[in-house]
Point group: C2
Chain length 261, copies 2
């Protein structure tokens, strides 16, 4: 089955029927995929404010109504409780389960936050002939915890997590302009070169994901990463939170090209 | 006194001392000015969500902590209760007072929303040699209620209010690219030409502000307007809301050029 050419609605139906339970990378080419964070309403204002104060690591695509499993703006007909291939359930900051369906633990006070994902801006980089090393090497992107503090909001606080892509000097400007054009999926880099000054000691030992090859002369370029809000949520230890499992995303009806508006 | 060349901190001090009580247009050239909406905490989540769902008419620059009169991100040392030249106090959707200081009616449950203002993007237009007719004619910008619905959030709903500037056909593309570069102050136009299709019957009769001359061949270009969230707040009739008086803005420490990031 060639999932790249199926529509988002078709792939969501296959995921809902548990005919797809794996990662979604490469599916429905051209459509934005999204991260998930579900919290009880009592935490929703603080989380929305954290996102407003930290828009580069936490670009929100849609917020559900309280208790609703629908996402009418970004994925018509989708069911938040069934249309991600895999979820992670966190209680008091600890991972307790990885179900493929959360219908049976749904709460009427849940608010769902759909967050932009770097899959969208990597398409922009590739279109601009900027190499994306972890894709070339078939790895997960390397991610690092920095010393750059997020602006806190209520119970949520923490430092920024960044993803890194090594870029040849001649293509850095193009990498900046290509990603600046998509502010709703992390936008332009937050830092270019000099890992030590943002608290990264060793590029070969990422805090999340996998290390990639850096060719001689290439410069490490750092973008804000959607792991930032997840780390802030885990640190705040809410009674319950549900996220997607890494790489197991929702495929939205929004074309990546529309994220430029 | 030449207020254009004073620093934002100096002008805020003059406003706090009530040595300036008039409109702030033209003061502190190059610095962003901001709209205000203060609501009790019980309404803050719905309002923040309304802004998230309608970012073009409602670009939020900063949200205060509950009860705090400080704006540490955009105007260090400012006092929300004294540093606007004039306020409007609304009870149950009705205007009840226009004080120059709200210290004596401050509530510990107040949340303040600072909202981007078109003064910033008009600088972009002038820099790009695009004419701004209401400035040429010394008038308030013409604003119109459209038939374009906002995405509702909780108690807040309503149609989009737009501002209009007539532009010669040869300069429309430049007007689009210049304002698209500042998404935090309304961004690119929402509609170009054909007022009837967005529910505007007569350009000579704006719903807010003043009509301006449209020269033969010029096209009316419409941008989302910060009056939209104020209209949504008034329609929701909260027990209390406080806004700035039109034109009586906060002068922030943020340079307009930084709103491009």
């Amino acid at each position: 089955m060639n999932y790249a050419s199926l529509s988002p609605r078709e792939v969501r139906a296959l995921i809902r029927a548990e005919k797809i339970t794996g990662q979604t990378a490469g599916m429905c080419r051209g459509y934005a995929q999204a991260n998930l964070c579900i919290l009880p309403k009592e935490y929703a204002y603080d989380f929305l404010l954290f996102a407003q104060r930290n828009p580069k690591p936490c670009p929100i695509l849609e917020v559900s109504d309280v208790g609703s499993r629908a996402l009418p703006l970004t994925a018509k007909g989708a069911d938040i409780a069934t249309d991600f291939p895999k979820y992670r359930v966190w209680k008091n900051g600890e991972l307790v389960d990885e179900p493929t369906d959360i219908s049976d633990i749904w709460q009427q006070d849940f608010v769902s936050f759909l967050i932009g994902c770097s899959f969208s801006f990597e398409g922009e980089l590739l279109d601009a002939d900027v190499p994306v090393r972890h894709i070339e090497e078939g790895k997960n992107v390397p991610m690092y915890l920095t010393n750059i503090p997020c602006v806190p909001a209520g119970i949520f606080h923490g430092n920024t997590v960044v993803s890194m892509r090594p870029i040849p000097p001649s293509k850095i400007a193009r990498a900046v302009t290509a990603t600046a054009a998509v502010p709703r999926v992390h936008g332009a880099p937050i830092h270019i070169g000099d890992p030590a000054s943002i608290g990264i000691r060793d590029l070969s030992k990422p805090d999340f994901g996998e290390a990639v090859t850096i060719h001689p002369g290439e410069v490490p370029v750092f973008w804000c990463c959607g792991v930032t809000p997840q780390a802030a949520v885990m640190a705040a230890k809410p009674s319950i939170a549900i996220t997607h499992a890494p790489g197991h995303m929702l495929i939205t009806d929004i074309k990546n090209s529309l994220l430029k508006e």
